[in-house]
Structures are given as C-alpha cells and as structure tokens.
Symmetry: C2
Amino acid sequence: MIRSVEDLGEFGLIEQLRRYQRSRPGLFVGIGDDAAVLAGPLGYRTLFTVDMLVEGIHFFPDADPYALGRKAMAVNLSDIAAMGGTPTFATVGLGVPGGTSAERIERLYAGMSDEAAAFGASITGGDTVEAPVLLISVALLGEVEEQRLLLRRGARVGDRVCVTHRIGEAAAGLLLLQRPDLKVPEDTRTRLVHKLLRPTPRVEAGRELGRGLATAAIDLSDGLAGDLHRLCKASRVGAIIDAASLPIPDDVRRVAAAAGLDPLELAIGGGEDYELLFTTSSLTGGSHVLPRSGTPYTVIGEIVDEERGVLLREPGGGLRPLPEGGFQHF
Amino acid sequence: MIRSVEDLGEFGLIEQLRRYQRSRPGLFVGIGDDAAVLAGPLGYRTLFTVDMLVEGIHFFPDADPYALGRKAMAVNLSDIAAMGGTPTFATVGLGVPGGTSAERIERLYAGMSDEAAAFGASITGGDTVEAPVLLISVALLGEVEEQRLLLRRGARVGDRVCVTHRIGEAAAGLLLLQRPDLKVPEDTRTRLVHKLLRPTPRVEAGRELGRGLATAAIDLSDGLAGDLHRLCKASRVGAIIDAASLPIPDDVRRVAAAAGLDPLELAIGGGEDYELLFTTSSLTGGSHVLPRSGTPYTVIGEIVDEERGVLLREPGGGLRPLPEGGFQHF
C-alpha cells in the first residue's frame, strides 16, 4: 500500500526526513528543535529556521497583506524566541499569482519588515516567483550566547511546566472566523481575532528565560498538547498538566460556551498562540511575572518520569492521558 | 492605474523591496547580490540565500522527484558558488499537495540531501505544509574567508569577461522538452535535457576564482544578457561581448538549426545554465582552464565605461546594444 503524506502526518514525515540530515562540523542541534543550532561568531551560536505559509491553508485569500506580512515574520521570530535567541536576518521567498497588485506585495513586505524591525532583525534577501496562490516562505537567522541557548531537551523530573501569557485565544479567534454566527460580545471577537492574526513573538521573554531561568522551551504553534509532547519526547520525560491552572481568559470561555465546547479543547488542542511553553527548576510562579521583562507566566504542571507519559489532571482531580492531538471532551 | 507585479517585473520588484531592508550591525551586503553577506565566525563572512521552485512554473508536474530535489538544491549552491563561498547548511520549506505519496517526498529529500552532500553541505531543518501544488523553498547558508568574497560589484574597466564551461545548453534542453517534434540526434537531446534538469553548481570554480582571480562574479540563472546587465549595473561599468567567442557547443547549434533560431538567442537569452560569469584582470584565457580546478572557461568580452552600455559585437564586427531581455534576431 502506498502511504500518502497524510498517512504519515507532519511529525512522521519529519522523523523520516531526519535521516537525510548529515552530520557536519558546525552543526550542534539539527532537525527536531524550533531552529537548527550552528557554530556562530566567538561565544555565540547561530540559529536557523524556516516556515512556509500558503494561501487557502494558512491564511484566507482576502487577508490584509500588511497583517499577513507581520504574522509570517512573527511565526519565525517565535522559533528564535523559543531558543533564547535574538533574531538577526531573514530571507523571504514569495510566490505571487499573476495579476496581484504591486501594492499588495509592497504591503506584505512592509508588514514583514516592520515585524522584523520591531525585534531588531532585517530582511536581507529574497526570491520572488510566479505561483498559483500566494506563498510566503521566511527563513530566519538568530544568534544566542552559548550559555543562554534554550533547547527542547533540557526538562528534568521535578521541573515545573509553565506558559507565558494566556492560551486558547488564537483557537477561539479562528473559531469565530469560521463561525460568524457565534454570539459573543464584539470586543471579545475583536480581541481574539486580532490575537490569531497578529501574534506577538515572545522574544524578550525567551531572552530572559535563557539566563538560567528555564531548563527547556518550545513555542506553542501546534497547540499545548502536541507541543508539550514534543518537549517531553526531546527531554525523555513525562508531564502532568493541571487543567484547573491553565491561563484561559474569560473571552475564550465565552466563545467555548457559545459554541458548546469545553474551553479546554481550545486551550489544549488549539494552535497558533505562539506563547512559550517552558520548564523551570527555579521559578515558582509565586510572582506571576518574569523578574526582568515582567512577562506574565503561569505554572501549569510538573515534569514526571517518562514512563508515566503526558497526563492531564482534570478539574475533578482524576488523571487521564493527554493525547498528542489535543483534548477531546467525552 | 494599478500596477501589477507583471508590470513591475521581477527586477523592478526587487528594487522596490530593497527599500524594506534596514541596515543592521553584521550586514555587509544585502539585497542585490547572489546572496546576502553577513558577519561570520572570525575571519569569515556568512552567506545567506533563498530560492523558490513552484510546480507548473519551474518544473513539470511529472518531474522525477529525485532529480528535482537535486536541482532545487543546486540552484542555491550556485548562488553560494558565485560568491566564492562554501555551502554549509540548508533549511527546506516544502508545500505538498494532498494525496502525494510519501515515497515521492522522500525521493525529493534524498535528491536535495545528496546534492548538498556532494558539496559538503547538509539539510538541517525544514517546514512541511499542505499546498495546492508542490512547492520547494530552499534557504542556504555558506561561508567564505573575508578576502575571498566575490561580489557583483568589483568589475573594472579593462577587465576581461569570462564564463565557465558552455552556455545555451539549458535553453536548448528546455526547447527540446517544449518541442518534441524537433529533429535532433538522440544523444544531443539526452545531453541537453540532462543539463537543464541536473545543473552542476560551480562551487569549486567559485572557490578558486575567489583567490584573487576574479574581480566580480554572478551565476547564470536568467541568461547571459540579464545577468551581465546586473553585474555591470552593480559594478557601474559597461561591457562588450564578442558573439564569435561565445562557448556555444555544437549540440546547441544543432537544436537552433532544427528550430530555425540563431544559436545566439539560446546562448544569450536562455537561462538556467548555472555557469559562472566573471570578470578578471589576471586571467588571459590562454590556458582555457582555471589552474587549480581545471575548470574550462572562455574569455567572451571586456569591461568598458558605463556610458557605453552593454554591447554585443556581432560576428560581422558591428556593435549593437545587448538588451537585458536577451538577444533577438532581426
């Protein structure tokens, strides 16, 4: 039987493709973290990541080009943030359908450029080609002091599991775009859709976490469940997440109620929050904010032995496995 | 009137987008060369380039995935070669249509990986997403000793203009694919189509040219006319190309004859040869090969004052302007 890429799934495909990575001097960490870690200038590592966005898959054809540009850059900046790094230079591959106005492409570029500049980075090259739909492929470099590098694989049993800011907002925003019939206050809709379309990469928080505060980190692109599984797998540990502790804002609860969903489905299964999920042996959560940057964070669980797997402590106190695909309400 | 990206053209678009590049410490050369030039490890510069290939635009839907993978990587390696650099690490953004077999994607990756490895580089990360057609975006890093960096902007009046190997073969190969009715010997067809589908990046030649042999270089991706114009513009010089001296192989002349074309149209206007076009004040062409690598090259013209523009000396001796878009036979 011929396997299709759907059968294999994205993570299966990445495992397969990892075989094609060859060791080479200067490669410290390759496929399997948020960014590759390469030899850099003295005392530094160079980080290297790429993301591709496709019209009709990752964004709607009528997306505002400026906001789209900002998001295309932000998702890459978020990968560098999760490594404790500072973004430096990006190249942009654009596929542009015939008939696209030059203004639209300029707005897209302006968005990418402004988002990069907001975090000290610059676009420094690109390739623009014809394509059947709009395509945006951003490759981004970053740098990080050797001692401040954050990986997925550093979590240890007993570490606390934390997340920055709030979760579930992007998933709730997406649901509102898909179901305009859902009855929620207008400011809730505006806030959540904005969070989906204009995520903020947590670069400053990542930089701070790299100063010995976090033992491991990953950015939340595919949802808490999937990304926690990946962090645990890389660190060879398990985790227990405490559902009652998750920072789910009232906005998200309102959307869940309107849609007849458990808010945990949005908070655990929904992607694109681009918050940092990290583990720590030093932070207790007592202060609620990271000391230098003031970034809010919440302790949501703890790291346990690998054999125990990844578990969810339900509000009632019971433990159940938390599958990679997210939380399904029974 | 709304300008479309077609009105603007790729080069016009790049000029527009250059405005969005911001200066930043660590940026030596940005948009406008084959790759960006960044601060690197002590004594080195880091090179950074990206190319995007789109099914139906850059390759046929039935393309052999392994050969396609090799070419996708080769066109990026060629950019690093044109800078005098050594390729190091690549990330790959893939857009994959639903229903694509996993084997097809594996073969594609194998081709990219083998091509990278042949030049000492490694794939070290990627992003695989769903897309309406197959998309391949390769971002590639390279390194080059500060003193061996080759730019487009170093050509000086009096320099000789040279090209490695032969030109026009890829254009002839493309013509044969588009017009299977053209009557040429089978081995001619095989050779030329192979040259189109499996270009060889001239990394070793680029490395050698960077040892003080070349004053400027660019790779031939868009055709001799367009790429020479870009080199001349970057160097603020003009050039006279001697039509009679162009290394056009008999295979290409045969295809041109069968199609009723002037072979110069294929050699000057056709793209995708991925040879190096370079200028030199030291090489005379007398030996026909670069001394270390043995790479064949041909002196095809000379650099002149900018005011004279870019000219073609026709076989009869007359001079005519060589437009950016290539050679049209009257």
